[in-house]
């Protein structure tokens, strides 16, 4: 999904009515937003955080110092680790690490839904749709989290819904 399309999705789920126009810069097609009030903003997570503020939903950026830092850490992870690597091995390392991280968590910050969940969901979508049933079971915690986010009101929009099977098929896998 192109960054501009992703930001448009985000605008909708934040309830922002006026659609912004985005241009793209350079080979990696980094999104650029020309704001009314000041200079342009460059970069997916930068613009996303700006939109959250525009929608007066700052709580999506975290409430405490710790939460704020954690949200930004996973946003950075999204643009460097998830977007940076396209080959299969790398993405499996990402899924393995996330799976282990999410073992005792509902959301990326623990108990609060944030922008990090939204952008990581958008970023991982193209990989998760291609996973086999067995792989989805292998990354059980990621699957649980992903399934939860895609049912969160207003997040998924036109993206395909990924099917997860509730009962385990491969009892020996861990």
């Amino acid at each position: 999904m192109a960054a501009a399309a992703e930001l448009t999705l985000l605008e909708k789920c934040l309830g922002l009515s006026k659609g912004n126009k985005y241009s793209a810069q350079g080979e990696r097609q980094i999104p650029v937003l020309q704001t009314n009030s000041g200079p342009s903003l460059t970069g997916l997570t930068t613009i996303a955080a700006h939109l959250v503020q525009q929608a007066n939903k700052e709580y999506l950026l975290g409430s405490t110092a710790e939460e704020k830092a954690v949200v930004q850490q996973w946003l950075e992870y999204r643009v460097t680790q998830v977007d940076g690597h396209c080959n299969k091995d790398d993405i499996h390392t990402v899924l393995k690490d996330l799976n282990s991280y999410l073992e005792d968590k509902v959301y990326l910050t623990g108990y609060n839904f944030t922008l990090a969940d939204i952008l990581l969901y958008y970023g991982l979508h193209r990989f998760i749709v291609d996973l086999t049933v067995q792989e989805k079971e292998k990354y059980l915690n990621v699957s649980r989290w992903f399934c939860h986010i895609q049912h969160y009101p207003g997040i998924r929009q036109h993206l395909s819904s990924v099917v997860f099977i509730k009962n385990r098929l491969y009892t020996n896998s861990h």
Partner: protein
């Protein structure tokens, strides 16, 4: 909370520097772990530094840790900081880890280390100087400064990697480095060992993925849209209203062009192409074409301009080529000189003289400089062991010897390198050496040679550089190369060769030797000028009044920036030395290099057979000019840029502006009554024009081209918003508005034609002929936007400027130049599509348009399904487009469609 660090992990720098912010808010323990220890239980790969929070959670991102410390101190996040940190993670870190890996793990130096980070450093520098703020996100030092400082410190603490021309970056870096928390962090992490302290850690890290393939980019840095003040608008309007009156008288063309005291005198040289090679596109953009744009620009400014170039003809390579083709060296030179001259003529290069180095003037000037160097004690003699073929009675240059490799025993090793094991060989070490010409065995003989004593000339050279470099427009890569040569120390440089084809050495005992081409090739500029005018010394011995701009690819920098200045300084004859050394990076071809032998890539003589006009080649090459970093020629990109930028943007705008004048106003420019919107547009165009001038004065040729395209984009938008084709049918006020918009638009088109002149001279002349632009306006470009086509001016016949490039046409060209079938398809593939279609084809298309129109009407009448109607309408529009193209008409956007 507990912070885990590791010896030599670069991430520790910003974290330690930021840690002070959290002081008094939370207790911080620091533990040192091994570089491969997995501190974070859920991460597969080891990662330090890591902050374990009291909640048990981990922060494993360096920026996130620093951010947390800042947040604890009550700091609030903001967009600009977020933007810098995102840029640091996605752009700076990949570039930096490549540079550090080259430097620390692979032990490389200089340009290899610097080039991956050049773009990123320039970006920081530009941002700092554009905002004219001492810090990245405002007036005070903040999170973004510490994170970027920490990332950059290991590299930039070596002054060799902090170029002084990046002044804003320089002072920002110094300010931060001198602050106490940063100093302490630097001492703790680097332990005064410099960047080598990182080695134990970096060696354990996987090779950065960004090393695979050097980054090339055809895209420029983005510029931000400026805001306009009322004064700027008023000034732009005043200048516009003065119109043609403000043009100074056109200076008559002098012959010969000579410098005039008190005026700006610009001497421009392009690196001399070596005579026995046909230049490829990379050679052409690297020097002759770049220099041509600057020369044409310089003439548009009415500066006294002399642009010269010529073929470099002496040396071994010419002798070899002569032997291959069974000609004398002189015949080879005569033959290839013509080939070169023809290629540059086709590319429309505006040399004042295109000469050659094999002339009596060359001998005279070279020998004079040499004698002066000898007389002043700057020439040394030394003995060099060399192979000599007794049978041919001459010393053998490396490429004339073959033998057995002393390392691997390969039978056909060359004199300089073994093709099998790749090792470099000193020719006298070859076993069983053979003369390539007569196959007899050469013997080792010692031969006397002359050396230019560079160490002795080091001091005057450095004095000259100190005086010349600051404030000049030497490109960063040129400064860098010269600096690294000086740092590594100057060594005496051999200036003679045992050859016949060269400038003879006028010294007893050296009668059978000639000067090494690199001693006398740069003197070629002087001798070529001397062949142009006997008053050549007015240019070349006049450093006070002449600005010398020398254009070349970066491999030529040492000879122009160091060796020749040393000869000239040593000769003590008041020579004009290079004021601005303009060096490009390399141009790749598609995904690799140009290769004559494999038939890969487009060479100068083939460009004309493609059916693509010279101006389109010029445009695309200049659009991707390797300015600041390598770039690549790509056929697909060329098609894209032609169709989107030239056809749809520039060509569309200029053509519409002219068509409106012809169609709606009978060919006469209408009255213009400016509204405040028009005044703003005037100011925007003026601003962009001034930007164009600033860039070209700094020889940022590729960036200045973007200004032209930006203006025409403004123009297109202006027409689109004001819809003169609708207003012309409206009431009196509407018709007047249509007139103003048309008049302003056609004046912008006239301005564009002049700005375009350095880049696309033929297209520029075509536009000026179509618009009947008054002659003085064609040859002078001021810094203000003038009304050059006043109301009542009559324009000529307007027609489309550019042709669409088609996919299959480009695909067949790509095939043709991809190697392997270099000789296969001599037929130009493009000819049919470049001419307009015949009347028959047009008739067929017209019939189809009518037929399709009926289908649409019927469907609409039946109130058919929406999607079905839309599909048929799309077909109709496509047919109309084909028809318009076939008739050679400009594409008009459908009227109902609104654009913002």
């Amino acid at each position: 909370m507990r912070l885990f660090v590791s010896e030599g992990a670069p991430g520790s720098l910003p974290v330690l520097a930021a840690a002070g912010r959290a002081q008094g808010r939370a207790e911080l323990l620091i533990s040192t772990v091994g570089p491969e220890e997995c501190v974070v239980p859920f991460l597969t790969r080891p990662k330090v530094p890591v902050l374990q929070l009291d909640s048990g959670n981990y922060l494993f991102s360096t920026s996130a840790i620093c951010r947390y410390f800042f947040l604890l101190s009550g700091w609030e996040q903001d967009d600009l900081t977020n933007q810098w940190l995102e840029w640091e993670a996605t752009e700076l870190q990949p570039a930096l880890s490549a540079a550090l890996y080259y430097l620390v793990v692979q032990g490389k130096k200089g340009e290899d280390v610097f080039s991956p980070v050049r773009r990123a450093l320039t970006h920081i520098d530009h941002s700092l100087s554009r905002r004219s703020c001492p810090f990245l996100a405002g007036e005070t030092e903040s999170l973004a400064d510490l994170v970027l400082w920490g990332a950059l410190y290991p590299l930039l603490q070596d002054p060799a990697y902090l170029p002084e021309e990046l002044g804003a970056l320089h002072s920002w870096f110094q300010t931060l480095s001198s602050q106490e928390p940063c100093q302490r962090a630097a001492e703790t992490v680097l332990k005064q060992q410099g960047v080598l302290a990182l080695r134990p850690y970096l060696q354990k890290q996987p090779q950065p993925s960004s090393l695979e393939g050097r980054a090339v980019s055809n895209e420029p840095e983005e510029e931000e849209l400026a805001t306009l003040s009322e004064e700027e608008i008023a000034m732009a309007v005043a200048a516009w209203e003065k119109g043609l009156e403000s043009l100074p008288p056109v200076q008559p063309q002098q012959n010969p062009v000579l410098p005039v005291a008190g005026e700006r005198n610009v001497l421009i040289t392009s690196a001399l192409p070596y005579v026995n090679n046909v230049p490829h596109l990379g050679n052409i953009i690297g020097c002759v074409l770049s220099a041509d744009v600057f020369a044409r620009y310089s003439r548009l400014r009415q500066w006294n301009t002399l642009y010269l170039c010529g073929t470099d003809e002496y040396g071994t390579a010419t002798e070899t080529k002569a032997m291959e083709e069974g000609l004398t060296p002189q015949e080879i030179c005569d033959k290839y000189h013509v080939i070169h001259a023809d290629i540059y003529r086709w590319f429309n290069i505006s040399f004042d003289i295109f000469g050659r180095t094999t002339t009596p003037q060359q001998t005279k000037i070279t020998q004079d400089i040499f004698q002066r160097l000898v007389a002043r004690g700057f020439v040394l003699q030394d003995t060099v062991e060399q192979l000599r073929c007794e049978h041919c009675a001459r010393f053998l240059a490396d490429r004339f010897v073959e033998g057995m490799c002393p390392f691997c025993g390969y039978e056909e090793a060359r004199g300089d390198q073994c093709d099998k094991c790749g090792k470099l060989i000193n020719a006298i070490e070859l076993k069983k050496p053979q003369c390539k010409v007569c196959r007899s065995c050469p013997v080792v003989k010692s031969s006397q040679h002359l050396f230019l004593d560079l160490p002795k000339l080091g001091k005057p050279l450095e004095e000259w550089l100190e005086k010349t470099l600051p404030g000049s427009d030497w490109t960063p890569n040129a400064r860098f190369i010269i600096r690294s040569w000086l740092r590594d120390g100057l060594k005496p440089r051999c200036i003679t060769r045992d050859l016949k084809w060269g400038t003879p050495v006028p010294l007893v005992g050296f009668e059978d030797k000639v000067f090494y081409v690199w001693f006398d090739a740069t003197i070629g500029y002087l001798s070529i000028t001397a062949n142009y005018t006997d008053q050549w010394e007015k240019w070349w011995k006049n450093p006070e009044q002449v600005s010398l701009y020398q254009f070349m690819a970066k491999d030529n920098v040492p000879f122009h920036g160091l060796v020749f200045p040393c000869s000239a300084l040593g000769a003590e004859d008041n020579y004009t030395l290079v004021s601005h050394l303009i060096a490009t990076e390399y141009l790749n071809y598609e995904d690799g290099k140009f290769s004559k032998s494999r038939g890969v890539g487009v060479f100068g003589d083939m460009a004309q057979d493609t059916g693509i006009p010279a101006d389109i080649w010029r445009f695309y090459l200049l659009y991707i000019r390797p300015e600041g970093q390598d770039s690549a020629f790509s056929w697909t990109d060329m098609l894209l840029k032609n169709n989107s930028e030239l056809l749809n943007n520039l060509g569309n705008f200029i053509n519409r502006a002219g068509m409106f004048v012809s169609k709606f106003f009978g060919g006469f420019v209408p009255e213009m009554v400016l509204t405040s919107d028009d005044r703003r547009l005037l100011a925007h165009v003026t601003l962009e024009l001034q930007h164009y001038h600033q860039l070209l004065e700094k020889v940022r040729i590729r960036d200045a081209l973007r200004s032209i395209l930006t203006i025409s984009r403004h123009g297109n938008q202006y027409i689109q918003v004001n819809e003169p084709w609708k207003r012309i049918k409206g009431n009196e006020a509407d018709r007047q508005r249509a007139g103003t918009v048309t008049g302003l638009a056609v004046n912008i088109a006239a301005l564009l034609s002049i700005m375009l002149q350095p880049y696309m001279p033929t297209v520029s002349a075509t536009i000026q002929a179509q618009l009947q632009l008054p002659p003085p306006a064609c040859s002078i470009l001021l810094t203000n936007f003038l009304c050059t086509l006043p109301a009542g001016h009559q324009i000529g016949t307007v027609s489309p400027l550019f042709q669409k490039l088609e996919n299959d046409q480009i695909e067949s060209l790509r095939q043709r130049f991809s190697g392997g079938q270099a000789k296969a398809s001599p037929k130009p593939a493009a000819v049919e599509t470049m001419t307009t279609a015949g009347p028959q084809q047009i008739q067929v298309l017209m019939d189809e348009v009518t037929k399709q129109g009926n289908i649409v009407r019927e469907l609409k009448a039946q109130k058919a399904d929406k999607n079905q109607v839309a599909a048929e309408v799309a077909k109709l529009l496509d047919l109309k487009k084909q028809l318009a193209l076939a008739e050679g008409k400009p594409l008009e956007t459908p009227k109902g469609k609104k654009k913002k």
